[in-house]
Amino acid sequence: MRRIYVESMRRWLILCFALFAATCHVQAAENDSYYIGATYGADIHASPTSDSRMVGHLDRLTNVNILQRIRGWAEIESGSPKLRGWVIEGAVRQRYQPSSSQKARSSFFSGFARWFGGNEPQQQTAVLGVRGLEEGDATGTASNPQAVQWMESLNVSQDEVNRFIRDGKLNP
């Protein structure tokens, strides 16, 4: 009787573990892609300059692959819609990619949460490089006070301004 009970418990434990591991695997495979993070999507250019021909537009949250990066631009390709071209690098974001231990821990808890109906951990995002001219979400904007100090150090003298005005035959 006791042996039957132990065997039954063992089978249940194996079944539970198998189901749990499968759930974790699905979750771990979701966190690898890049996507268009700009609020209003991003224009795709033929070459890495804003003056170049536009070959299309991708909406926010469209998944993309980054092929290369040059001077603040990223060459991307998108499967849906099928498109390849250049986008301002700041418009592309990478989904949070935890280390393998973090991934395992995250998957563990997300799998656990799935099982018991709790909320999954919020997906985090990381911004790559300088952000492009997208609007909104000012709260997430990085600050660069040193740049402002540099601006304030660039005072031009009144003599220089007067000479500038005089040379241009402008109004004093």
């Binding site: 209003y40 224009d43 300059t49 804003s50 003056d51 536009m54 537009h57 603040g72 301002i88 300088v130 952000r131 492009g132 001219l133 997208e134 609007e135 909104g136 000012a138 709260t139 904007t141 990085a142 600050s143 660069n144 006070p145 740049a147 402002v148 540099w150 601006m151 304030e152 660039l154 005072n155 031009v156 220089e160 301004v161 000479r163 500038f164 005005i165 040379d167 241009g168 035959k169 402008l170 109004n171």
Partner: protein, 292 residues
């Protein structure tokens, strides 16, 4: 009407001295025996009172510095010293002919090829590298800068902030927030101003800045029609689909041009001077050496 005037004034005065964050005007109206229309007028009057919460020039600078740091953090600064020096000479010359000549302005180039410009409270003004490259002569770059200076002199962002619910905390609490830049309220005010920059000001504010900018151009001695030419350049780019970002922060250039042309007939402007200074513009922006 007279019966309603006294409670209206009393309540408005009360509100003006109360750090009211959420005020139930309907309850107040009921308590004072006011009808709905008078209660609504009371609420509107209270909004006017809250809009009068003053922001000093020093406070404006504190806010502007914080917003400017976020603009710089977002795009990066173009380190080209020659171009930046030129931008500061030109910007300062224009600012001295503006309605706030003694504010102390600072100018820098943003490290992006998109065409846009940003002005923060307190006189921190940014032009993108793309906008500098789009300009064909000094007068056109002056037009872009004048438009941004006009946003500062007309205090468009500050007025929007003053009308916001954030300032309903009252002048004393607001003043404390400016002193403590780590405070939640200051952060909210900075968020508000930064959002206004990135999402765009109202169409009326943009038209207003266009109108004021031609006056500043004219006072400084530049051909004020350069502003019209800048709008034509933007319109041409818009038709080629190259200004989608600018289009989200500014009204359609065609409409701006129509509004500006109509306004130019009524503004006190001297005849166009024809001063465009293309050669100097090219010397400063396309050479690595200071032409002076």
């Amino acid at each position: 009407m007279k019966r309603n005037l006294l409670p209206l004034l009393l309540a408005t005065a009360l509100l003006a001295t109360t750090p009211a964050i959420a005020f139930d005007f309907n309850s107040l109206g009921d308590a004072l025996g006011l009808d709905k229309e008078t209660t609504k007028r009371l609420e509107e009057a209270a909004k006017v009172v809250s809009a009068l919460v003053p922001i000093s020039e020093e406070e404006e600078k504190i806010l502007g510095r914080d917003v400017a740091a976020r603009v710089a953090g977002r795009f990066g600064i173009d380190p080209d010293q020659n171009r930046t020096y030129y931008l500061n000479l030109l910007g300062t010359a224009l600012a001295q002919h503006s309605d706030r000549p003694n504010l102390g302005y600072h100018f820098a180039i943003l490290n992006t090829d998109d065409v846009n410009a940003y002005s923060c409270p307190g006189g921190y003004i940014f032009v993108t590298r793309g906008a500098m490259n789009m300009a064909q002569d000094e007068a056109e770059l002056a037009a872009i800068l004048s438009h941004e200076i006009a946003h500062v002199t007309e205090k468009h962002i500050l007025k929007a902030l003053q009308k916001s619910k954030l300032m309903q905390v009252g002048s004393e609490v607001a003043a404390e927030a400016f002193k403590n830049q780590g405070s939640q309220l200051f952060k909210q005010m900075s968020d508000f101003a930064t959002d206004a920059l990135f999402k765009g000001l109202s169409k009326e504010d943009e038209f207003d800045a266009d109108r004021v900018s031609v006056v500043y151009l004219n006072r400084t001695g530049y051909d004020y029609l350069a502003m019209n030419d800048v709008l034509k350049l933007l319109d041409a780019r818009r038709k080629r689909g190259m200004t989608k970002v600018l289009a989200k922060t500014h009204p359609n250039p065609t409409v701006r041009l129509q509004q500006l042309t109509a306004a130019e007939r009524t503004l006190p402007l001297d005849a166009p001077t024809g001063i465009r200074l293309k050669q100097r513009f090219v010397s400063y922006t396309q050479s690595n050496k200071n032409p002076s």
